[in-house]
């Protein structure tokens, strides 16, 4: 065997080991979570309130809270983010203000989520007097996901060939008509992907909702956007570290973790199906 071949084998082998290592972590994690979590999981567990100081019963308020706060955050972030990206990409040109806005968005993406939490507390909870509420949390989460929605939307718009824009303009379309009826539909799959990613990130975040609305325990489901709520990631945190008897509730914690994962997968699946329907080869 020549030296070159040996090098090649060593290189390939190390790549494979790395790839397998990463895959192994994923498998072990999923396996461990499933082994301990799935036995706990039941319809009963998902749809009932916690009982007896959270040592029994289910996680329904947390499932409900996470679902609602995530959807609300997406509803707030998606239009704002898409509009911002369209403006940056289609209208703004290359001025100083555009540069500044882009830099601001990039930097927003690098801000730690706990800082968003603090900001949410200052602005939404206190400044805008929303109180600690599902709405304040949704606003904070929306802010957190905004940079990724903007970045992926911009990327999706950039993928739309210039020739398509010119085709519409040459027919006498205005810039707005071109954007609205040709560019946006063409970029929609990419935009949806961005929203998917934002959605699943928002669902799993703890820090931004910590100060802004999530509750240790509520006896009722939130009845209005100004109520406090329970959320899966926070519930998991409580059960794992803040409970008076963590060993006793460990199975419930695993059940909560699995439920959170399933919820994220489910949200992703919905968006994935949506996205597949808008495949460019199919008619719009």
């Amino acid at each position: 065997m020549t030296i070159r071949k040996l090098r090649m084998w060593i290189g390939m082998a190390s790549l494979i080991v790395c790839a397998l290592g990463v895959a192994a972590f994923m498998v072990i994690m999923l396996f461990d979570l499933s082994r301990q979590g799935i036995p706990v999981l039941s319809w009963e567990f998902l749809t009932s309130f916690p009982r007896q100081g959270m040592t029994a019963g289910g996680i329904w308020p947390a499932v409900f809270g996470t679902t609602v706060v995530t959807l609300l955050a997406t509803l707030l972030a998606a239009p704002l983010g898409v509009a911002c990206a369209v403006w940056l990409e289609e209208y703004a040109g290359e001025g100083a203000f555009t540069q500044f806005t882009r830099a601001a968005v990039r930097n927003l993406a690098g801000v730690p989520s706990i800082v968003y939490g603090l900001f949410g507390l200052a602005i939404f909870v206190e400044g805008m007097r929303m109180g600690a509420s599902i709405l304040a949390s949704a606003c904070t989460l929306a802010l957190l996901t905004l940079p990724s929605v903007i970045a992926t939307t911009e990327e999706a718009l950039r993928q739309v060939p210039r020739a398509l824009r010119e085709g519409a303009l040459a027919l006498g379309a205005t810039r707005w008509e071109t954007t609205y009826s040709v560019v946006l539909p063409t970029a929609l799959p990419g935009i949806l992907t961005g929203v998917i990613l934002a959605l699943s990130r928002a669902a799993g975040e703890t820090a931004p909702i910590l100060f802004t609305g999530v509750a240790f325990y509520t006896r009722y489901l939130p009845a209005s956007p100004f109520d406090e709520f329970m959320a899966l990631p926070y519930h998991l945190y409580i059960l794992s570290t803040q409970h008076h008897d963590p060993e006793l509730v460990r199975p419930l914690a695993y059940g909560t973790a699995i439920a959170l994962l399933l919820l994220v997968f489910l949200l992703n699946l919905v968006a994935f199906v949506l996205r597949a329907q808008y495949h460019p080869k199919k008619r719009l």
């Binding site: 040109g93 060939p161 020739a163 398509l164 010119e166 085709g167 519409a168 303009l169 040459a170 027919l171 006498g172 379309a173 205005t174 008509e177 009826s181 040709v182 539909p185 063409t186 460019p280 080869k281 199919k282 008619r283 719009l284």
Partner: protein
Amino acid sequence: MEKHLLQIEDLHLYAGSKHVLKGISMNIPEHQIIALIGPSGCGKTMLLRSINRMHDLNPDIRIEGRILFKGKNVLDRHTDPVQLRRQIGMVFQKPNPFPKSIFKNVEYGLKINGMRHSAHIRDAVENSLKQSHLWDEVKEELDKSALELSGGQQQRLCLARAIAVAPEVILLDEPCSALDPISTAKVEETLLELKQLFTIVIVTHNLQQARRIADQTAFMYLGELVEYGPTVQMFEQPQQELTYNYLHGHFG
């Protein structure tokens, strides 16, 4: 005396610091096919895109001179490019159908131009597809995605889309360069019929194509209009040596 629909007067175009078009003047008569020929980079496409203000999107491009369309200066700040492009249509080098159905591609221009009545739209779509000789191939599957058509069909669809809005002029930028000879022949046949209705300006690298379809031919070289006249005369008795050399493949 034939009527001049478009009059280009001393047109200069700068792309950044580059002087691309150096004083082009030419008159374009109504209901004829005018071919723009010349080696790559001579400015044919730049000239074509000036006529319907497609350069507007590019801030690096500066244009001087006048292009009169029915007596009004196209390049004037007060000319609305959206209105202008409804009168001067364009077909591009690479087929660029929208990722929508065949029907919706043709319908698009009609809708943005305010046609609402669905029966009128259907008639107009059918007519345009017939005029571009695509109807027989697609009439059964108008709801199919335009992206599933062949390149030649896509280009005829783009032509149909352009004529649907009933412009007065159609600009074509090397429309056949990506097409096989059979598709090319179909496009050419279509253009010859369409000149009854429209004035056609076509950029082409294919000299034979210019000879087959054009009434007038303009030869451009390095940003200048070297020779412009009736196609037959141009090909049989070019007035300029440069033209002669180009037509006989001595450079280019």
